[in-house]
């Protein structure tokens, strides 16, 4: 086994950074509230995994979307568990981001040189909220339709440009098949990529600057 890892390490050169990562010291005066960010990230990973599984059966078209969600919920083996994990992880993810932000604020960990990390975290939170909004439409039921219709019509209240931006978001003058496809693309492609990029920055800065211990 160790020969295999030696061979792998010759190509990957992962052992020394890996050692640095494992042998670094953690400030002594931190407590369990410092886990909130990590818990949020755990739920993010579960969202990614369950989301990948959901794409196998989900069909983002006007005719099939509702039926495919029905199929996932009622017929696919453990489909309801995967969907349940996706739905509940989303709620817990948002909840723990908020707890994490409160902890960071209270421990004043946003102070220089960590202001950019706060800003990146805020942007990741906004991207996550957008993921929640776009994902809510995908079951294509009555509740999803009207929540999205009202939500996107808020954009059209922007003076002058509102109508055009709302049309861009919906791909139509009201929520339609175009909106479903756009929201699907945003939900499974654009927003996850943006969020992963932001989280990479977030963690990179933590790695470089270390955990902020209380002043």
């Amino acid at each position: 086994m160790s020969k295999f890892f030696d061979w792998l390490d010759k190509q990957f050169k992962i052992r020394s950074p890996h050692k640095r990562f494992f042998q670094r010291t953690i400030p002594p005066n931190i407590n369990y509230t410092y886990c909130f960010g990590g818990i949020a990230f755990t739920y993010f990973l579960l969202l990614a995994m369950s989301g990948l599984l959901l794409t196998i059966y989900y069909i983002p078209t006007e005719k099939e979307a509702y039926n495919s969600v029905l199929l996932i919920t009622n017929e696919v083996p453990l489909g309801w568990v995967i969907r349940g994990i996706h739905k509940w992880s989303a709620s817990l993810y948002i909840t723990f981001i908020i707890f994490h932000a409160i902890r960071v604020f209270l421990s004043r960990a946003y102070k220089p040189p960590r202001e950019l990390n706060w800003m990146v975290g805020s942007l990741a939170f906004i991207a996550s909220m957008a993921s929640g909004f776009t994902g809510y439409l995908l079951p294509w039921d009555q509740k999803a339709y009207w929540a999205t219709e009202v939500g996107t019509s808020m954009i059209s209240t922007i003076p002058i440009a509102g109508k055009y931006i709302a049309y861009l978001v919906r791909g139509d003058s009201h929520v339609s098949a175009n909106t479903l496809l756009r929201f699907y693309a945003l939900h499974v492609l654009y927003l996850p990529l943006i969020t992963i990029f932001l989280l990479w920055g977030h963690f990179h800065m933590i790695k470089r600057l270390g955990i902020a211990s209380k002043y």
Binding site: R24, I26, L70, G84, S91, Y110, F133, G151, I158
Partner: protein, 144 residues
């Protein structure tokens, strides 16, 4: 992986918790074993919620029937906020106040730069959190 929390390691990690403050911990194995316990609890909580409240799906879309727009719970505050504005001022609720909230959220560290800045940042942060919590609660009460 020697850090899997079998009995001996858990005992070790609990001893670490009761350590006198001031001694730095090593990520491996002290901190990592705690992280694994926390992640396990997080997944357990999630699975309990999934099994207690499995996902449902509503009725298919029927445009002929009126329907109340109920968003995901973390957007309830926004829908409630919008309902307080009418006519030409509706964009205050839909655009201006949310943008101010987003600006405050992102720029929060920069309010805490000068002396007394912590107080300003705390006030602004409290306004954000209280608006979110209060509007969500009002919304939930109204829905019932």
């Amino acid at each position: 992986m020697g850090a899997l929390p079998h009995d001996k390691k858990i005992g070790y990690s609990l001893k670490i918790l009761s350590k006198v403050k001031g001694e730095p911990k090593k990520f491996y194995p002290d901190y990592l074993s705690e992280i694994i316990v926390v992640i396990t609890i997080a997944i357990e909580v999630l699975l309990i919620l999934v099994f207690l409240m499995p996902p449902t799906i509503g009725r298919p879309i029927d445009l002929s029937k009126p329907f109340q727009a109920i968003p995901e719970w973390y957007f309830l505050w926004l829908y409630k906020l919008v309902s307080y504005f009418h006519g030409p001022f509706i964009f205050v609720g839909t655009v201006i106040i949310p943008l101010i909230f987003i600006f405050i959220l992102i720029a929060l560290p920069f309010f805490d730069r000068r002396r007394g800045g912590r107080l300003i940042a705390s006030l602004l942060g409290s306004i954000l959190l209280l608006s979110f919590v209060m509007l969500t609660l009002i919304s939930i009460i109204d829905l019932q």
